[in-house]
Amino acid sequence: MERVGPEEFSRRVSSKLEDLASGFEVQYGHVWARVEPSRIVDVVRTLKTDPGLACTYFTFLSGVDWQAQGFEVVIVLYSVTYGNTVGLKVPVPAENPSMPTITGIFRSADWHEREASEMFGINFEGHPNLVKLYLPEDFIGHPLRKDFRLASRVFKPWPGAKDPSEAAGGGRA
């Protein structure tokens, strides 16, 4: 184990990835970067295989729905060797959201991509088996999208007048 501070690790990441990613920053001790979908496979491969980065630990992959601004796929990797976290934010368009799969580099992304795919409707090109993970086969809709309303909230707001968002004049669905 060879511990490296997050600032120093961020410099390493940005020097290795300067042509492939942008917006490098350190937040709460973790390195973050923005990556275009077309570059994501190269970025993840570099992070995993470069001996100075060694981000071999796959933490998670998930999404955020920014509605009109499209989706954001978030991938977090960790380097056990250097004790650092690298987070990647991949912007994906709202219309036909799609990005290449990273299962070729991290086989573990399989389940994570299937979950993101059913929950947000994001397509992962080249995924070997992009079927639903949690939801039944015939489920219609993508539950974690913002336009997917929680059925029980349509009938009855919860927990009634105690909902803190009501004090501020209305909350989200």
Binding site: Y28, V64, V76, T85, G171
Partner: protein, 386 residues
């Protein structure tokens, strides 16, 4: 592989060796679960069998999916910590901690020292409660009915200490952004110390009872070996990763609360088999007991909660915060748009990643080994499905 070769398999092999031309064999698909005693909840495993050998085993998840991530978006952060405790129901308090830490970091809330100490004490007691459960149930799955009785005997005092403080036995709902719901009552420290002392006396018995048992060794040594590189690629964490020899523990790697002030070790296995995972589980209880003891004897006076505004409004931004849960690394990725509720809250639960590696471990194993492998993966289905 197990030294115990199941009979059908031996019979098949003998028939093949004897050149029995009339013998036709074919692969069979067998559903194990969703309701099966070895799966702690409703996990289904579809196995393709060649005799008693597993050709392919795929876990089918989702039977316990309750949509936590959607529900988070409907709730205030004080309500969210209570919801978090429902994911992994064996370690409710540990689930609440990283959610609370994330909010504290985003809002720059200060947590009093007493509250931090109590969080550590209760998190470690909860870790012991969880580990005791698996100590007992793993034996039960392999046919040893006694260890679970002992484990529950030791659980009771610690469980009572938690109940005394929080009023709950499973879902404690005790952590609040900024501190704790309330201070611990008189008698908590004594009761917890008694529980820890009783546990420390009992652990050598557990070690002798199962780890010194020939049948237990035959069922677990060399069974379900998890390669360390594969474990990293799959983001496996907790006792399972450490059983494979990788000393990654969030309490040491990225200390939160005040874990860096306590003296404890990270037990690490060597072979990555079911036996080593169980060994790590038992050793971790000793280390947790050490932490609880140090913290209880050193517990500072003071307030149980810091200055927290009436309305929790989280500044715009995103944060990834993680902690070492009994079963592995639990983290939350929270995106806030400046309101009382999170815009998006992703829960990265340890069992999800830990179970996704299972197909690699089942390939080539025998059916009875499957129970030993799944049992030593220490998972909670609610933690996989969320």
């Amino acid at each position: 592989m197990s030294t115990l070769i199941p009979t059908t398999d031996r019979w098949l092999r003998e028939a093949r060796l004897a050149g029995d031309a009339t013998l036709r064999t074919e692969e069979m698909v067998l559903n194990i679960g969703p309701q099966h005693p070895a799966t702690h909840g409703v996990l289904r495993v579809v196995v393709t069998l060649d005799g008693e050998k597993i050709v392919e085993g795929t876990p089918v998840v989702g039977y316990m999916h309750r949509g936590h991530e959607k529900l988070f978006e409907q709730r205030d952060f004080r309500q969210i910590t209570n919801l978090c405790s429902r994911m992994d129901w064996l370690s409710g308090l540990n689930n609440e901690i990283p959610a609370s830490i994330a909010v504290e970091r985003l809002m720059e809330l200060e947590v009093p020292r007493r509250a931090t100490y109590l969080r550590v004490i209760m998190a470690e007691i909860n870790r012991i409660l969880n580990h005791l459960m698996f100590t007992g149930s793993f034996g039960l799955e392999l046919g040893a009915t006694t260890p679970v009785m002992y484990a529950f005997r030791e659980r009771e005092l610690l469980q009572s200490a938690m109940e005394l403080a929080t009023g709950g036995r499973l879902h404690f709902g005790f952590i609040r952004p900024g501190g704790l719901k309330e201070d611990v009552p008189r008698g908590f420290v004594d009761l917890a110390l008694r529980g820890i002392r009783q546990l420390q006396k009992a652990i050598p018995d557990y070690e002798d009872l199962l780890m010194g048992n020939e049948i237990f060794k035959a069922r677990t040594v060399g069974v379900g070996v998890l390669d360390p590189d594969l474990a990293l690629e799959y983001g496996v964490s907790g006792p399972i990763l450490r059983g494979s020899g990788i000393p990654y523990d969030v309490r040491k790697a990225e200390p939160y609360l005040n874990y860096d002030e306590f003296d404890f070790n990270i037990p690490v296995g060597t072979n990555g088999d079911s036996f080593d995972r169980y060994w790590v589980l038992i050793q971790e209880m000793k280390e947790s007991a050490k932490i609880v003891e140090q913290a209880l004897l050193d517990l500072p006076a003071g307030s149980h909660i810091g200055q927290v505004p009436k309305r929790l409004t989280i500044p715009k931004g995103a944060i990834w915060a993680k902690a070492e849960n009994p079963l592995g690394e639990l983290g939350y990725y929270i995106v806030s748009d400046g309101e009382a509720k999170p815009y998006r809250m992703k829960a990265r639960t340890p069992s999800f990643n830990n179970i996704s590696v299972v197909p690699h471990m089942l390939r080539g194993a025998y059916v009875p080994d499957m129970v030993a492998i799944l049992g030593s993966m220490f998972f909670v289905v609610g933690d996989i499905d969320r």
